[in-house]
Symmetry: C2
């Protein structure tokens, strides 16, 4: 069974380049290791109609939609309202969220701005935030998390056990032994056709003083993966010992 | 005049988390500094229909669409073919691309796989690749670049002078002097309403041993930006000297 996901990164600061996103790579790796296929990522600005449209498109297409960013206390934090709008439900200060926030803030510190962080769309479940308490939430198949990386990571750990997961995709990496992609591309393409249940990719990796390409094989079927890996290793070994330039 | 752009990152390896994208932040900052507003980013897998659909949606919505990834010599490099399909034009080995590739490869080294990198959609202009020679290209408003960061960066430098640019968005950063967002959120929200031509955002930044929030103001109108910046500085100064917990 395949379980799919999309990630929606919300924030002008990512699109202006002022903040360099650290969440996409983390979430991608985390979901892959959990047996959830991340199939699409979008980054959109802090504009209501853009956020609402992206939420509705992506939640309809994939098993889960994760969002990061826009759930703080300032006026530019509009994610929770956009989610409520996308689901056409009401949103208000949630007593459960206030309760957890009172573990960190004194009652007189819970001003209107901070209470914005307790506004949760009707019908959502809270996602714990052990770091700064203001919670994330899950409504339908949409998981709404903070943008600050360590808070997002804690929220992901908290919500992950509630999610359906599929058979994990297994990966194998074969070092191309210093060969250029153009040397093994034809043979690799033939193997990709031969081993249809295995996804085969070639990734140039530049290192100091040269490059060292990696061939990555991915499949849910371990036996098929073993076969394809052996074939790729044999391909590379054959080409490495052949010193003609092709 | 505003000039807008989207970025389409193409590659299974980004979505699996195996490769951590380094291009989004670089391109975002580069375009912002060039007077081009990056308004949306998408990451899609190496699947033809996904790539073609994203190209056609994004090129219609923005002044420019930049793509990264999928223009190497292996079977999983399908970006050029997808662009040709999106534009409904033919694609074939381009003599101009072969000519530049012969600066690096001997004629007998230009095998079928490497010639894949010379396949350019009809009507496209080449984008120089000083590093490994295989070119990127621009067709209509779509700019197709490599995924390897240093090659992408060189291609961006090469294509940038050809692009229309708008008035640069200017940015100012005001340090929140150790105040939590909840302390200044109400005042900042009021200033955002008052200074409509300035986009005001608040960004928590966690540092070793605490946090140091930044308020970022962005506008094309320098006089308006000056006014708003002064107002934010005064807001923070007023709150910093007030030692009550609200």
């Amino acid at each position: 069974m395949n379980v799919s996901a999309a990630l929606l990164v919300i924030g002008d600061e990512i699109l202006s380049g002022r903040t360099k996103d650290k969440n996409i790579g983390y979430i991608a790796e985390y979901l892959t290791n959990s047996g959830i296929d991340l199939r699409e990522v979008r980054v959109v600005p802090d504009i209501e109609e853009e956020i609402v449209a992206a939420i509705n498109t992506l939640r309809a297409r994939y098993t889960y939609l994760f969002t990061t960013g826009g759930i703080g206390p300032t006026h530019d934090d509009i994610t929770a309202d956009c989610v409520a709008k996308a689901f056409d439900v009401s949103i208000d200060v949630d007593p459960r969220a206030v309760e957890v926030m009172l573990e960190r803030y004194k009652p007189e510190e819970l001003n209107e701005a901070r209470l914005r962080m307790a506004r949760i769309p009707a019908g959502a479940d809270l996602i714990e935030n052990p770091i700064s308490k203001a919670p994330g939430f899950m409504i339908g198949n949409v998981i709404v998390m903070a943008g600050v990386p360590n808070i997002m990571q804690a929220m992901l750990d908290h919500v992950a056990p509630r999610l359906r997961t599929g058979t994990r995709v297994l990966a194998r990496s074969v070092d191309a032994a210093g060969l250029g992609e153009g040397i093994y591309a034809a043979g690799l393409g033939a193997l990709a056709v031969e081993h249809q249940s295995v996804s085969i990719g070639s990734y140039p990796a530049f290192q100091s003083g040269g490059f060292r390409n990696q061939i990555v094989l991915r499949s849910r079927d371990e036996a098929a993966l073993d076969l394809a890996e052996k074939a790729v290793i044999a391909l590379i070994a054959g080409l490495s010992s052949d010193r003609t330039p092709l």
